[in-house]
Symmetry: C2
Subunit: 228 residues, 2 copies
C-alpha cells in the first residue's frame, strides 16, 4: 500500500502543484493510495523522509521524496502504463518539468499569493506570512497580488506559449494520450484552481481546452477537487 503525504490548506483544499503531479501519476498507473494531509506546521509527519517538502510517498517500506523522484520510482516499480512513453531518456518530461518549475511557477505565484494566504489552514497562517513575506519583502499579500495582476495575467499567458504551440497541433503535450509531461503542467494549473476564484486562462485558448480534457481524466478526479 502507498501512502501519499499531500499539502493541505483550509477546508481540505489541496493546491500543491507538485503533489498533483504525483496524484495524477498514481492514477495513471492505476495505483491506490492512502491520503495523509500535511499542513505547513505539521511537517514532523514527514520527518522520516528527511524532507520538509511534499510530496513524499511511503511505498511499502520504501520512502521517496520529490515529485520527479516519485515519478521515476513509480515508472521503475510499476512499468505498465508508462509515464514517459516514447521518451526513454525522459528528455521531454525533464525539460517540461524544469520549465514549469521556473517560468510557469514564477508567473503564477504573484497572481495568487493573496489567495493562497487567505486559504491556508488557520494553524499555518503565521508560518506562511513569515516565509512568503521574506520572499516578497511585504506581508500585504492582497495588495501585492492586486498589483501583480495589473500586468501579470498577460505575462502569465505569454509564458504558456511553448505549450500552446504544441497543443495547437496535438491533443496532449505527450502526444495522442496524456502522460507525465501533461501532469507536470496540469499540476501547475491546479495550484491557482484550488485557491483562486479568477480563472487564469481564457476560454478560446488551446491551453484552456487541454485543461478541460485533463480535468476529465480519471473520472473527473481533478475537476472534483475542492476549489476556491
Amino acid at each position: 500500500m502507498i501512502t501519499l503525504y499531500d499539502l493541505v490548506f483550509a477546508d481540505d483544499r489541496r493546491p500543491s502543484p507538485f503533489c498533483w503531479r504525483t496524484k495524477l501519476a498514481l492514477r495513471h498507473k492505476g495505483l491506490d493510495w492512502r491520503d495523509e494531509p500535511v499542513g505547513f506546521t505539521d511537517k514532523e509527519k514527514i520527518a522520516f523522509a528527511e524532507s520538509k517538502l511534499v510530496p513524499v510517498i511511503h511505498d511499502g517500506a520504501k520512502v521517496v521524496k520529490d515529485s520527479w523522484a516519485i515519478a521515476e520510482h513509480l515508472e521503475k516499480a510499476y512499468p505498465d502504463k508508462p509515464l514517459f512513453p516514447d521518451d526513454p531518456t525522459r528528455a521531454h518530461a525533464r525539460f517540461v518539468n524544469a520549465w514549469a518549475d521556473s517560468a510557469v511557477h514564477m508567473a503564477i505565484f504573484p497572481l495568487i499569493v493573496g489567495d493562497l494566504v487567505d486559504r491556508v489552514r488557520p494553524a499555518d497562517k503565521a508560518y506562511m506570512l513569515e516565509s512568503r513575506g521574506k520572499r516578497l519583502g511585504t506581508t500585504d499579500f492582497a495588495a501585492f497580488q492586486a498589483n501583480a495582476r495589473e500586468k501579470g495575467f498577460a505575462a502569465f499567458r505569454a509564458t504558456l506559449e511553448p505549450a500552446r504551440r504544441i497543443l495547437a497541433t496535438q491533443p496532449f503535450l505527450s502526444g495522442a494520450a496524456p502522460a507525465y509531461a501533461d501532469y507536470i503542467l496540469f499540476g501547475s494549473l491546479m495550484w491557482p484552481r484550488c485557491v483562486s476564484p479568477t480563472d487564469l486562462l481564457e476560454d478560446g485558448d488551446v491551453v484552456h481546452a487541454w485543461r478541460e480534457r485533463m480535468l476529465d481524466l480519471f473520472d473527473g478526479m481533478a475537476r472534483r477537487a475542492k476549489g476556491p
Copy 2:
C-alpha cells in the same frame, strides 16, 4: 548537392537563429552544401519556395522551407546520425523549439535590435527600419535597445532557467552528445553573437559553458562565424 539560402547582413555576417539550426543540422549529418546568401531585399532568390523567410534548402530537386521542416526532411532523407536520438516522436525537440521561438527570442530581440539594424546590409536598412519600426512602434532602435538592456539582461538570463537546470545535470540538452534540441537553442544564441559586442551570458553560467562546447563543434564552425 544541397543549396542553403542563408540570411546575410553587412560584411557577410550570418545572424539568423533559424539558419544556424539548419547549418548545424547539416554538419551533424555530415552533409556539404552550397551557400547562397539572401538579404532582406533580395528575397526574390527564394521566390521558388513560395516563402519570404529563410532558411530554405534545395536538396536536389526538392525544396524545403522552415527550419523545423528542414530538420525533419534531413532526418528522413539521411537517417544516419539522428537529429532526434531517443526522441522518436520528437516531443523534446519540438518543445525546445516552441520555447526558443517564443520565450527566448522575445527576450533577446529588444536587447539587440539596435545592433541588428546597425549591421544589416546597407541595401536592406530601409526595409529593416520599416518592418522592425512597425513591430516596436519606434525607429529609434538605439534608444529602445539601451532602455531594454536596463532590465532585460536579467530577464533574458531568467528565461534560460529551464535549459540551465538540464545543463546542470548533463553536458547537452540532448544528453551525452549534442543533437537538434541543442542546435535550436544554440542557434538562438548565435543571433546576438553575430551582431552584438556585449555577451548576453555570464561566465559562471552553465549555459555559457555549454555554449563554449557548442562553439567547438565541427572544428569550431560557429566560433569562426563573422562576429560583431
